[in-house]
């Protein structure tokens, strides 16, 4: 979901009000993306098929998520999954697990000053990305694309977040950037 808005203050009639309040502009983006679906993978060849990216058994469907998204916390409950017996196919559905959601607010505040009539303008502007400086967990649950080129494709490694045999399974170890502020100066005619 994306919300964008650009709002400008009107031209105020009074001299003081005009000097203080006219020409301001607010532009914002609010973005919310629900967690991307991905598959938990065994990380080992349980099927004995030689094919990578095998899904395990789901043993406890009600306790897949721990409800925690803090840095270093385990977002997924490892005991809800179990590597299936050798030579069988796991019963976990493809892309049946979703990662933590993303949200962010970016805001730009700017003010225009007309010089020499309306034709020339100077704009002073400040942009803030992740305005609230909120903590937004990041994760990588899908396999990176295989390297192109000639020859047989090389299967990339399963990311630790999705690999059941990893000690970092379901652990949140990265986050989206903190608040960044950018200033700008612009002259237009």
């Amino acid at each position: 979901m994306n919300l964008t808005a650009v709002a400008q203050t009107p031209k105020f009639p009074g001299r003081l009000a005009h000097a203080l309040a006219s020409g301001w502009q607010l532009a914002g983006i609010y973005k919310f993306i629900s967690g991307a679906p991905f598959s938990v993978q065994t990380g080992t060849d349980q099927q004995l098929s030689g094919i990578n990216h095998q899904r395990p058994n789901l043993v406890d469907p009600t306790h897949v998520y721990t409800g925690q998204t803090c840095g270093g916390c385990f977002y997924l409950n490892k005991s809800a999954f179990a590597a299936q017996p050798l030579g069988t196919v796991g019963n976990l559905g493809w892309n049946s697990v979703t990662g933590p959601a993303y949200w962010g607010i970016d805001l730009a505040v700017s003010r225009q000053f007309p010089i020499r009539g309306e034709r020339h303008r100077i704009e002073v502007r400040a942009d803030a990305f992740n305005l609230t400086n909120g903590y937004v967990p990041a994760f990588s649950g899908t396999n990176p694309p295989a390297q192109g080129g000639t020859g047989a494709p090389v299967s990339p490694a399963v990311p630790a977040f999705a690999a059941l045999n990893s000690s970092q399974f379901g652990q949140i170890l990265t986050a989206f950037p903190t608040r960044k502020i950018q200033f700008a100066f612009k002259y237009m005619f």
Binding site: N2, T4, V6, Q25, A27, G28, I29, K31, I33, A36, G71, D106, L107, A108, S110, D127, A128, F129, N133, G134, Y135, N143, P145, A146, Q147, G148, P153, P156, T174, A175, T178, R179, K180, I181, Q182, F183, A184, F185, K186, Y187, M188, F189
Partner: protein, 372 residues
């Protein structure tokens, strides 16, 4: 033979120039007050910013199509002997738009003029594609980290940035998945090139990565259109992004800008691990644009430059030998306690096994490490 080659090249260049920026059209029909078709009426569309105009006659069924029009505000004038001239204003062409215009002529002298505020339906009736246009004002006004226009593609529904591509020549080009299409693929039989990018009507794909090639900075982009499903036959992929750069007009316009980002502003510490101080980052982006007429109503120019300068410190993890190792004593390094219970066997350069567990293991005394 040489001359012929030159002519072919010249005609090719001219056709390319004619094709540039031509991504919209107007179609419609001309009717008389009774609703009957008016053939052979002269339909003239004029771009108001550049004054460039195009004309066509309506066909036997009163229909007309003006193809390959540059973007921008238009007025359409329709005249026919025996009818008052109809002047339709307020038509704005965006990327890929194809508005339908139904013009009803009033009976009167041709010198008479009827002004109509053209009520063009912005609902696309000719194309099945589901898409969204992001216009100049939004491109320039919305906050953009790094002034990368492609960040705004994600504002269209059903698109999400899934990462960034490192290719040989262009670093950090975003990978954007639109409408669930594989933005960059190759693994497991997924198709490459899931999204078709075009710049000013021409293909703008990086065929090495399947992603988009660099796009001009926001001040040089007129607008772009993201289509997320139901593509028309002219597209080569399931989803598409059409970008149109700005062009000059009959009046001179330009800008100068400087954008600065500095780690001194914003947040002092990382949210993820509050003990970590934000690493230094300084970015300057500067440049300008200028556009105007070369020959009024005929020929225009537009140019822009943006320079980016980034200075940053990247934290790295590295291994530094201890004082004992520098002195040649590697026994701690090779010990069982440091290697998960199994002592490491170190070999000297001439291949003999130097078991450090029962000796001082001083490499420098055996001449293997030259003391500095």
């Amino acid at each position: 033979m040489k001359i012929k080659g030159c002519v072919i090249l010249l005609s090719y260049l001219m056709s390319a120039a004619a094709w540039a920026q031509s991504t919209a059209q107007i179609h419609g029909s001309v009717l008389d007050p009774a609703g009957a078709a008016v053939p052979d009426a002269e339909v003239n569309a004029t771009q108001l910013e550049t004054g460039v105009s195009r004309s066509i006659s309506s066909t036997a069924d009163g229909g007309f199509v003006l193809t390959n029009l540059p973007l921008g505000p238009y007025q359409v004038q329709v005249s026919k002997e025996g009818f008052a001239t109809s002047l339709n204003k307020g038509i704005v062409l965006q990327v890929g738009s194809n508005p339908a215009l139904t013009i009803t002529l009033q009976v009167g002298a041709t010198s008479q003029q009827v002004n109509v505020e053209a009520n063009v339906l912005l609902v696309e009736t000719r194309s099945l594609a589901v898409g969204e246009v992001v216009q100049t004002q939004r491109v320039v006004d919305l906050p953009l980290n790094g002034r990368n226009v492609t960040d705004l593609i994600g504002l269209a529904g059903a698109s999400v940035q899934t990462g960034s591509a490192q290719t040989r020549w262009f670093s950090n080009q975003p990978i954007i998945s639109i409408g669930g299409s594989p933005a960059v693929g190759g693994a497991g039989g997924t198709s490459l090139l899931g999204t078709e990018y075009s710049l000013d009507g021409a293909n703008h794909l990086n065929f090495l990565s399947g992603g988009v090639m660099p796009i001009a900075f926001p001040d040089a982009v007129q607008e772009f259109r993201t289509e997320t499903s139901g593509q028309t036959a002219e597209r080569g992929a399931a989803t598409s992004v059409s970008i149109v750069t700005r062009s000059g007009t009959n009046t001179f316009h330009g800008s100068l800008f400087e954008f600065i980002r500095n780690s001194a502003f914003g947040s002092a510490r990382e949210v993820f691990s509050p003990a970590t101080v934000t690493t230094p980052y300084k970015r300057n982006q500067f440049g300008g644009t200028l556009g105007g007429p070369i020959k009024r109503d005929k020929l225009f120019f537009f140019g822009g430059y943006q320079g980016s300068r980034v200075r940053q410190t990247v934290p790295r993890t590295t291994v530094i030998p201890t004082a004992a190792m520098m002195a040649g004593d590697w026994s701690t390094f090779a010990s069982a306690a440091c290697n998960g219970g199994t002592a490491k066997t170190l070999r000297t350069a001439n291949g003999t096994i130097n078991n450090l567990s029962n000796a001082a293991g001083n490499f420098s005394t055996s001449g293997q490490i030259a003391p500095s």
